[in-house]
Structures are given as structure tokens and as C-alpha cells.
């Protein structure tokens, strides 16, 4: 999956530049789930999230020319559009009615499930999440998935404003480490699986 990221990204960007609608189709196929995950974690309602997801892709299409490759990866740009749209939506909703306090510690992980591929991902995710320090995971989730501002983090987690930045760096460093570990492990597992299959084949077991 990750090996193809850059190619997919190049393809989408090239289509976006040409104003070719295939950009949206490919982007949706490759990033739709990830963006929906972000939106759902911020707005916490499937109905609202569905609307926003549509808006986000329309926005990606309309604002395609404002994406500048030299400023960062495509997904960073798209995820920012998704997060901002989600935050706008809850702010509007908040101003309409007094927002009830929702627990942000357990986003909708339990909704993950279903087909085979999902369970593999679920397993990988659980492994990465479990290996992160709790305080680091919360910090990443608050900012990335809940769209918390620096001040809100300061208030919610009691981290001084001046150290939010360096703490977040440590948290993401740890995430980077874990993701890398995990990739090596996955590679090893797939190699072992392949070797045992070919061994079985050579011994005429198939």
C-alpha cells in the first residue's frame, strides 16, 4: 500500500492539474476512507460526516489549483481541508445548541470491522496504537483527529502552551518509529509466508 502512495499521488496531482475528473475518482478510492475517518472522529455523526465528506471532495476539485506540491504532500492538504470543514461544522452546531460534553478518549474504534482486509488493518492499527504511550496517542488524536487548537490542548491536557510543540514532536517521533517497526515486521511475515508456500509447492504438496 505505502509503496504506491507516491505514484498514486503523482497521478492524482497530474489529473488535477489537467482538470481531469479521474483525479477525484482515484483520490476517493485511495484516500476516501482515511478522510472519512478524520471527519467522523471530529463530528461524531455518520450523517454529518457523510455530508462533509462530499463537500470535501467537491472542495478538493474546486480548489485544485491552490494545492502546491512544494508546500507538502497531497494528503496533508486534503486532510487539512477535511479537518477544517469538520471543525467548522461542529463550531456552527455548537453555537446553535449547548454542546454536550463528549468523551474524546475513545473515538469510534469499535465501529471498525467487517471484511477481511479491514480486520488485517484493524490488527495493524491496534498494534501501532497499543505500542504508543497513552499521553502521546492522546496528543496526536486530539490534534489530528479532533482538530484541537493549541489553547484547547493546553486547557484539556494541562500542557503549557510553550511545550505543546515539542511534546507533539516527541509523540509523532514515537509514531514514526512504531510505524517503521511495523513495516519491517509485516515484510518479514509476508516473506516467511511466501517461502513456506513455495517450499510446500516444490515438495509437490499442491
Amino acid at each position: 500500500m505505502s509503496i504506491n502512495i507516491s505514484n498514486t499521488e503523482k497521478e492524482i496531482v497530474a489529473y488535477l492539474e489537467k482538470g481531469d475528473r479521474r483525479a477525484i475518482d482515484i483520490a476517493y478510492k485511495n484516500y476516501g476512507r482515511a478522510l472519512y475517518g478524520i471527519i467522523l472522529r471530529v463530528v461524531k455523526s455518520g450523517e454529518v460526516a457523510e455530508e462533509i465528506l462530499q463537500d470535501v471532495f467537491v472542495k478538493i476539485w474546486i480548489n485544485a489549483e491552490s494545492y502546491n506540491r512544494s508546500k507538502g504532500r497531497l494528503f496533508t492538504w486534503m486532510s487539512n481541508i477535511a479537518r477544517n470543514a469538520s471543525i467548522d461544522s461542529i463550531r456552527t452546531a455548537r453555537s446553535k445548541r449547548e454542546q454536550k460534553t463528549t468523551s474524546i478518549d475513545n473515538p469510534v474504534y469499535e465501529n471498525i470491522g467487517g471484511n477481511e482486509e479491514m480486520n488485517v488493518k484493524d490488527f495493524a492499527l491496534q498494534k501501532v496504537i497499543n505500542s504508543l504511550d497513552e499521553k502521546h496517542r492522546i496528543l496526536i488524536d486530539y490534534t489530528y483527529f479532533q482538530g484541537y487548537s493549541q489553547r484547547e490542548i493546553e486547557k484539556e491536557l494541562g500542557i503549557p502552551l510553550g511545550t505543546v510543540k515539542s511534546r507533539l514532536r516527541l509523540a509523532i517521533n514515537q509514531l514514526r518509529e512504531k510505524l517503521n517497526d511495523d513495516q519491517i515486521r509485516n515484510l518479514l511475515v509476508s516473506i516467511v509466508l511466501f517461502l513456506s508456500l513455495s517450499l510446500a509447492q516444490s515438495q509437490g504438496l499442491f
Partner: protein
């Protein structure tokens, strides 16, 4: 420009998470085009967050892509559409792919098993570096706090200090207290708000010095009440007294009806 320090500050993470201010964004964009090291680091952060988001993806409701497409169609009825989906990737040559893949994997296995020990060491090293970075940042914070405390002690312990107690001026504001540390030798003075009243958000606390019988503006008291902060205030050599009043804004003359605390300088 210290690139390592810039990276360690965490600004790039903020940029990726959309937390950076507009100014910070411009700064980061300038630096990533100027310094390849910063660009590489940014990419690594972006990839990690992207993978994390992909792992936490959620199944989308059905037909969303169709709805998106019809919304875009509606937006640009005039424009010619070309949303052909001729993605005909060939699935032929599977055998060859498998064979080549097998060879590749066998080679990687060979290389990996040799390098596993090195990888383990590298993993340990990187865990230790992160731990080190954590400790370093905790340590930096602590020594910063320590410096502030040492400064306070230095100010408070100076034998040339004269402590002026500003106490309750009228019944309207009971149980209030502030102190001024007045040092003629260093020509510095500090204010501590031991207990000042909570005032409405449209009011301010203003400090005054009485010089030759006339009140002189010493500025607003920008301090939370009950704070043990020491705020440096202008040094006025021949002040006879200090006072704090509640004002509607920064005033040129004190509103004496709203006098909160007052204290004389004893010479």
C-alpha cells in the same frame, strides 16, 4: 539558521497538523524550499501521519463517490466532462510476476536476516534517542523554571530591598494586599499582587506612585491575583507612596473612589 534546532522545535509537526499560524506557515514554506534537510523531515512527518490516518480509516457509506460526481457535474454543467474510467490494468503474466517477486523476496530475506541484528541495534538506538529527547526537553523546562525562581530569590534576598506593604484602603475592597520591592541600590522595583480583587472584564487595575504629593501613572497591573509572580515596575526614586485603583481604562488621574490598596514608602 540552526536546522537541527528548527526541526526539534516541533514547528514542522504543527505545520502538518494545520496548527501553525499563517506566519509560521509562510516561514516553513520558505525553509522547506531552502533547506533539503527540513524538506526531508517534513516528508517523513507527513508520511507517518498519512499512514496513521490510513490505518484509522473508516468504511465510507455507499454511493458517496456517485454523489460527489453528480455535485461536481452540477457545478460545471457547461464544461465538457471527461471522467472516463479506462483503468484496464492487465492481470496477465501472473506467473512471471510471482517468479520475479519470489526471487526478490528471497533476496530480501537473505539480506534482512543478515541485517536483522543491525536493525535491532538501530531500533534500540532510536528508542534511546527519543527517550533522550524527552528527558532533554523536560530538563530544559525545569532549568527554565529554575532560572525564574532563582531570579525571584535574588530579588527578594537583596539586603538593599525595602518592602512596601500596600494594604486595604477602604471597606469596599476588603482583605486586599500587594507588595512592592523597592531597591534604591539597583534602581529597580517589583510588584507582587498578593491578593487583589477580581474585577469585571471591562475594568483594569492601575498602579500609581505619589511623587511630590501628586499621583503619577505607573501603568496597568497585568497580573492575575494571588499570583506569586514578581512584576518589574518603573523605578521612581522619590516616590512617597504607591496605590492601586480600579479604572475603566488606562487613566491619567486616579479615580480615588475606587482606591484598592495604598502604602507609604518609609525612609
Amino acid at each position: 539558521m540552526d536546522i537541527k534546532k528548527y526541526i526539534a522545535s516541533g514547528i514542522l509537526e504543527h505545520y502538518v497538523l494545520g496548527l501553525a499560524s499563517e506566519e509560521e506557515q509562510k516561514e516553513v514554506e520558505m525553509y522547506i524550499s531552502a533547506y533539503p534537510e527540513i524538506k526531508t523531515e517534513l516528508e517523513a512527518i507527513e508520511v507517518a501521519m498519512e499512514q496513521y490516518a490510513q490505518l484509522q480509516g473508516m468504511d465510507t457509506p455507499p454511493d458517496i463517490d456517485a454523489k460527489i460526481n453528480s455535485q461536481i457535474d452540477a457545478l460545471q454543467k457547461s464544461k465538457p466532462k471527461d471522467s472516463g474510467k479506462n483503468d484496464s490494468s492487465t492481470f496477465g503474466g501472473w506467473g512471471m510476476t510471482l517468479l520475479l517477486g519470489g526471487m526478490l523476496l528471497a533476496t530480501s530475506w537473505w539480506a534482512l536476516s543478515n541485517n536483522q541484528k543491525a536493525a535491532e541495534e538501530a531500533g534500540k538506538f532510536s528508542t534511546l534517542s527519543t527517550q533522550f529527547e524527552t528527558l532533554q526537553s523536560d530538563c530544559d523546562e525545569t532549568s527554565k523554571e529554575n532560572e525564574v525562581l532563582k531570579d525571584k530569590i535574588r530579588i527578594l534576598q537583596d539586603p538593599d530591598n525595602q518592602v512596601i506593604k500596600l494594604s486595604e484602603a477602604q471597606d469596599k475592597y476588603p482583605d486586599v494586599l500587594a507588595s512592592i520591592f523597592f531597591n534604591k541600590a539597583t534602581q529597580k522595583s517589583y510588584l507582587r499582587a498578593n491578593a487583589l480583587p477580581d474585577i469585571p472584564s471591562d475594568r483594569v487595575l492601575q498602579l500609581w506612585a505619589i511623587v511630590d504629593g501628586k499621583p503619577t501613572d505607573m501603568g496597568l497591573v497585568e497580573v492575575s491575583t494571588n499570583s506569586d509572580d514578581l512584576i518589574e515596575i518603573p523605578f521612581i526614586e522619590n516616590a512617597a507612596a504607591f496605590a492601586i485603583t480600579v479604572e475603566t481604562g488606562k487613566n491619567t488621574a486616579p479615580n480615588l473612589d475606587e482606591l484598592v490598596v495604598i502604602g507609604n514608602v518609609t525612609s
